[in-house]
C-alpha cells in the first residue's frame, strides 16, 4: 500500500512537472506569450552585466535611455549623405543619453547615414552600387568597432559579394527553404539562451536567482559564468567576453604582431578602396573594452597594448583613426557604467569630441 502511494505520488509529480515545463518552454520561445504575461522585457542586447549576473552588491539603478534609437536610413541610397557611420557602439541609445550618432548629427548639423556593423561586412561594400569617382568631396565614413570584436571582424579580408541580378533567385529565398528555416528557428534554435534569460529576468524567478547568486558569491566567492571577474571597489562587473582566458575576444587572448599587421593591412585595403573608388575618407574608431581600461581594479596582469599598437600601425599606413584608449585612461571620471559594458554619458562625450575633431581634420 505504501509503495503504491509513493508510486502514485511520484508519477503525479512527474506529470505536473511535465505540464509546468511545457508551459515554460512555450513562454520562453513565444514572444507573444512573454509580452502577454509581462514576465520580462525582450532585452537581450549585449552589455548589461547586472541583468546576467544578478549579484545584489552590483545592483545600480541605471537611467533610462533618452530619445529613441534613430531609424536606419534607406540602406539602398547611402549616396545622398556626406557623413556615414557604421558601427556597434555609436548607434545604440544608452542609459541616460542619446545614441552617439544622434549627438554627432546634432553637433555637426547634418544628417548621418548609419548602419550596424555586420561581422561579415566590408564597409567599402556600402558604396558598391554607386558609380565610381562621381561623388562630391568631403565625404567621411566612420567605422566603430568594440575592441573584443576586432579580431573576429577584421583579421580576414572580406570581399564584397557580387551584385545579384534581379532574375537570379538565391536558394535561401525559396519559399520552402524560408518556411523550413522559420520552423527550425521557432522549434529548435536559441532556446537555451531564452530559457536562461527568462530564468534570470522574469518577475517570478529573478528575486530568487538574485538571492541565490548573491549567497553563492558571499559564501564561496562563486561568480556567474557570464561575469567571471568583478572589482569590489569600485563595484564593477566585467563580462566574460572581455575577461575569459579561453575566449579569443578577451583581454588575455594573444595579440601578436602578425595579428596587428593583418588587421592593419585589411583596414588599409578598405581605406584605399574607399578613397580611390568612392571619394570617401575612412576614420576608424576602435572602442576599448571596459576591462582594458579598468583591469587594474581586478588584476596585476598587464595589457598587451593591442589598441595602441594597432593605432601606430594604422597611422604608419595612412589610415585615419580615433584614439580613445589614452583619453579614457586619463579620464578622472569613470567612462563606463559599473554594471554595463557600454560607455556612459562621460565616455560618450569624450568620444564625441574625438570623433568631431577627426572628421574636421579629414575634411580639411
Amino acid at each position: 500500500m505504501m509503495d503504491f502511494n509513493r508510486q502514485r505520488l511520484l508519477l503525479f509529480g512527474i506529470r505536473g512537472l511535465g505540464i509546468f515545463s511545457f508551459i515554460i518552454l512555450l513562454v520562453a520561445k513565444c514572444p507573444y506569450a512573454r509580452v502577454l504575461n509581462s514576465l520580462c522585457v525582450d532585452d537581450m542586447v549585449y552589455g548589461n552585466t547586472y541583468r546576467d549576473a544578478k549579484l545584489r552588491p552590483f545592483k545600480v539603478r541605471l537611467p533610462d535611455p533618452v530619445g529613441d534609437v534613430p531609424a536606419i536610413s534607406d540602406p539602398k541610397r547611402p549616396g545622398a549623405h556626406r557623413l556615414f557611420f557604421i558601427g556597434d557602439c555609436a548607434s545604440q541609445a544608452h542609459y541616460g543619453m542619446k545614441a552617439l550618432v544622434l549627438q554627432l548629427s546634432e553637433r555637426l548639423r547634418e544628417p548621418i547615414y548609419y548602419d550596424h556593423l555586420d561581422d561579415l561586412l566590408n564597409p567599402a561594400c556600402l558604396f558598391q552600387e554607386e558609380a565610381p569617382h562621381s561623388q562630391a568631396p568631403g565625404r567621411v565614413l566612420v567605422v566603430d568597432s568594440v575592441e573584443f570584436a576586432l579580431v573576429r571582424r577584421l583579421s580576414k579580408s572580406r570581399p564584397c559579394p557580387a551584385p545579384v541580378s534581379a532574375k537570379a533567385r538565391p536558394f535561401e529565398s525559396w519559399a520552402p527553404v524560408v518556411w523550413s528555416n522559420k520552423i527550425i528557428n521557432v522549434l529548435f534554435l536559441d532556446i537555451e539562451r531564452r530559457l536562461h534569460f527568462l530564468l534570470t529576468n522574469s518577475k517570478l524567478t529573478a528575486p530568487f536567482v538574485e538571492s541565490w547568486n548573491t549567497a553563492l558569491f558571499a559564501r564561496f566567492c562563486l561568480l556567474p559564468a557570464s561575469e567571471p571577474m568583478v572589482s569590489l571597489a569600485p563595484p564593477f562587473l566585467f563580462s566574460s567576453t572581455e575577461t575569459s582566458p579561453i575566449l579569443s575576444s578577451s583581454f588575455y587572448a594573444p595579440h601578436d604582431d602578425a595579428l596587428v599587421l593583418t588587421i592593419a593591412k585589411n583596414l588599409e585595403e578598405i581605406s584605399n578602396t574607399l578613397r580611390s573608388q568612392y571619394n570617401v575618407e575612412l576614420i576608424f574608431l576602435p572602442v576599448p573594452n571596459k576591462f582594458t581600461i579598468y583591469h587594474r581594479f581586478v588584476t596585476a596582469d598587464r595589457y598587451d597594448n593591442f589598441l595602441p599598437r594597432l593605432d601606430e600601425e594604422l597611422r604608419r599606413r595612412g589610415v585615419r583613426t580615433v584614439r580613445l584608449y589614452e583619453p579614457f585612461l586619463r579620464s578622472q571620471e569613470f567612462v563606463y557604467h559599473p554594471s554595463d559594458s557600454n560607455w556612459n554619458r562621460y565616455g560618450a562625450s569624450i568620444t564625441l569630441e574625438e570623433v568631431v575633431r577627426a572628421i574636421e581634420e579629414a575634411r580639411r
Partner: protein, 472 residues
C-alpha cells in the same frame, strides 16, 4: 541538446510525463519524435544524415537476412562501406586531404584538395558504430532483421545514448522498445539518483577542472612542466568525470523510462593493469572493436592488438595526436602481455606477494600514470605541441607551480574536494550507482540524496558546457 542545459531540464520532464501518460502503442512514436527533436537542437539539417544512415542499414538488414551465400557478405560489405564512407566523408576528408597535400608538397608537387567546409555531425562515430553493429549481428544471425522502420530508427536515434553512447548492441536494446512499460517507482528513483550522480561528476568536477586544464593546455608554451603535469592529472580526472558523468545521466534517463542500457565504466582508475583499464573504460567501444575488428583480423595477436588501438585512436578524432594516443595504449598492452612472466618472477623475487595491498597500490598507481601520460597527445592540439609538453614534463629543472593562474581557484578547490569524495565513494562502491542504496534508514538516505542535489545545484557549473566526447 546537452544534458546539463536548461533546455534539457524542461525537455526531459515533458517527455517523461508524456511517456507515462500515453497508450503503449504510441510510445515508440513519442520517443522517436523526442529523439529527433533532441538531435535537431544541435544542427537541425544533420538529422538528414542520420535518416540516410537509418534507411541504408534498415534495408541492408532485411536483404542480408533474406540473402544466401556470397550475397549476404556483399550486402554486409555494401552496408559497412556506406557507413564508413559517411563517417570518412564528414570526419576524415579534411584530415586526409591535408596529409595528402603535405605528402605531395614534400615531393614538390602542387597537388591540393580543397578542404570541405562542413561541421562534423554530432556523435556521428557513435551512431555509425551502433548501426554497423546491427548489420553485423544480422549477418552473424545473432539478431533478426527489424521490419518496423520506426523501431529501427528509434534504435539508432534513442536520445539518451544518441550522441555519446553507450554503443548498444541490437540484442540488448531493440526488444526493449516492444516491451510494455508502466511507471515503476524503484526504476524512476534509481534513474533520478543516477542522473544527479552524473550531473555531480559533470558540473561540479569536470566543468570546474576544465577551466584550469583549458587555460594551461590552451597556452602550454607559457606554463612550466609542473603546471603541465598538474593539468595532465586534472585532465585525466576531467575526462573521466565528463564522459562517465554523461553515461550516468544517459543510463539514468533511460532507467526512469524503464530501459536498461549497458554500463560503460567500471572504476577505470582503480585498474591494476592496462588490460584491466580497457575492460573498465568506454566498455561499449572496447568490446565493439574486439568483437568486430580484432576477432576478424588474421594477423598475429600483437599486430592485431596494435592495429585495433591505432584504429581506436583514429576513431576518437581526425588528428595524428589521437593516433599517437592509440599507439601508446597499443604499445602498453603489447609490452604488458610480453612481460607478464618477467613481472611475475620479479614479484616473487621481491616477495611482493606477501604485501598484497602494497602491490595493488603500486599497480594502480603505475597504470594510472601510464594512462595519464597518454592523455598528453589526446589533449594537445598537434604532435609538435605534444612533443613540447613532453619535453617540459620530463625536464625536471623547474618544479615551481605558478600560483598566479587566471582561472577560478575557488572552483578548482571545489572540484578537487568533490573528486576526493568521488574517489572515496567509488572505492567503497562494488556495483554501479543506480543499483545500490546508501546503507542506513530511509531518513538518512534521503538526507544524503538531498545533500547531493544541493551540492550539484550550489556548486555545479551550469553553463551548458559541451561534453568532451560529443566531438567524436
Amino acid at each position: 541538446m546537452l544534458f546539463n542545459s536548461l533546455h534539457f531540464l524542461t525537455f526531459f520532464p515533458i517527455v517523461l510525463a508524456a511517456y507515462f501518460s500515453i497508450p503503449q502503442r504510441w510510445k515508440w512514436l513519442l520517443l522517436l519524435s523526442a529523439s529527433c527533436y533532441f538531435y535537431m537542437v544541435f544542427i537541425p539539417k544533420y538529422i538528414l544524415v542520420l535518416f540516410a544512415l537509418i534507411l541504408i542499414d534498415y534495408t541492408a538488414g532485411i536483404i542480408i537476412e533474406r540473402a544466401q551465400g556470397r550475397r549476404r557478405k556483399r550486402w554486409l560489405a555494401a552496408s559497412l562501406i556506406a557507413n564508413i564512407g559517411l563517417l570518412g566523408f564528414f570526419k576524415y576528408f579534411n584530415f586526409a586531404s591535408a596529409n595528402l597535400a603535405a605528402f605531395f608538397s614534400a615531393l614538390h608537387c602542387g597537388f591540393v584538395i580543397p578542404n570541405l567546409d562542413v561541421a562534423l555531425p554530432l556523435g556521428l562515430s557513435f551512431h555509425t558504430f551502433q548501426s554497423m553493429s546491427y548489420t553485423i549481428e544480422v549477418y552473424r544471425g545473432a539478431q533478426k532483421a527489424e521490419r518496423h522502420l520506426g523501431m529501427y530508427a528509434l534504435y539508432v536515434l534513442f536520445f539518451p545514448q544518441l550522441v555519446a553512447g553507450p554503443i548498444e548492441r541490437p540484442q540488448n536494446l531493440l526488444h526493449q522498445f516492444y516491451e510494455r512499460r508502466e511507471f515503476d517507482y524503484q526504476d524512476a528513483a534509481d534513474g533520478f539518483k543516477r542522473i544527479v550522480w552524473g550531473l555531480f561528476k559533470k558540473t561540479v568536477i569536470a566543468d570546474r577542472l576544465a577551466v584550469f586544464v583549458n587555460e594551461v593546455y590552451g597556452n602550454s608554451g607559457a606554463y612550466n612542466g609542473a603546471a603541465l603535469i598538474v593539468a595532465t592529472y586534472l585532465f585525466a580526472l576531467q575526462i573521466y568525470c565528463d564522459f562517465s558523468g554523461y553515461t550516468d545521466i544517459a543510463l539514468g534517463v533511460a532507467r526512469t523510462m524503464r530501459f536498461k542500457l549497458g554500463e560503460n565504466f567500471n572504476r577505470p582508475y582503480f585498474s591494476r593493469s592496462i588490460g584491466e583499464f580497457w575492460k573498465s573504460w568506454h566498455i561499449s567501444l572496447t568490446t565493439w572493436f574486439f568483437d568486430y575488428v580484432y576477432s576478424a583480423l588474421p594477423w598475429r595477436w600483437y599486430a592485431s592488438l596494435l592495429f585495433v588501438f591505432l584504429l581506436s585512436g583514429l576513431w576518437h578524432g581526425a588528428n595524428w595526436t589521437f593516433v599517437l594516443w592509440g599507439a601508446m595504449h597499443g604499445f602498453y598492452m603489447v609490452v604488458s602481455i610480453l612481460t607478464r612472466e618477467t613481472r611475475r618472477r620479479m614479484v616473487a623475487f621481491l616477495h611482493l606477494d606477501r604485501a598484497p595491498v602494497l602491490r595493488k597500490t603500486w599497480q594502480q598507481l603505475a597504470t594510472f600514470h601510464l594512462v595519464a601520460l597518454a592523455y598528453v597527445p589526446f589533449r594537445a592540439k598537434s604532435l609538435s605541441e605534444t612533443w613540447a609538453i613532453m619535453v617540459k614534463i620530463f625536464n625536471f629543472s623547474d618544479w615551481r607551480l605558478p600560483l598566479h593562474f587566471k582561472s577560478d581557484i575557488t572552483g578548482l578547490w571545489i572540484a578537487l574536494a568533490a573528486a576526493l569524495l568521488l574517489g572515496c565513494i567509488e572505492r567503497a562502491q562494488r556495483d554501479a550507482w543506480g543499483s545500490i542504496s546508501f546503507p542506513g534508514k530511509p531518513p538518512i538516505r534521503w538526507v544524503v540524496y538531498f545533500a547531493m542535489v544541493l551540492i550539484v545545484v550550489c556548486l555545479g557549473k551550469f553553463e551548458a558546457q559541451s561534453f568532451v566526447y560529443f566531438q567524436f
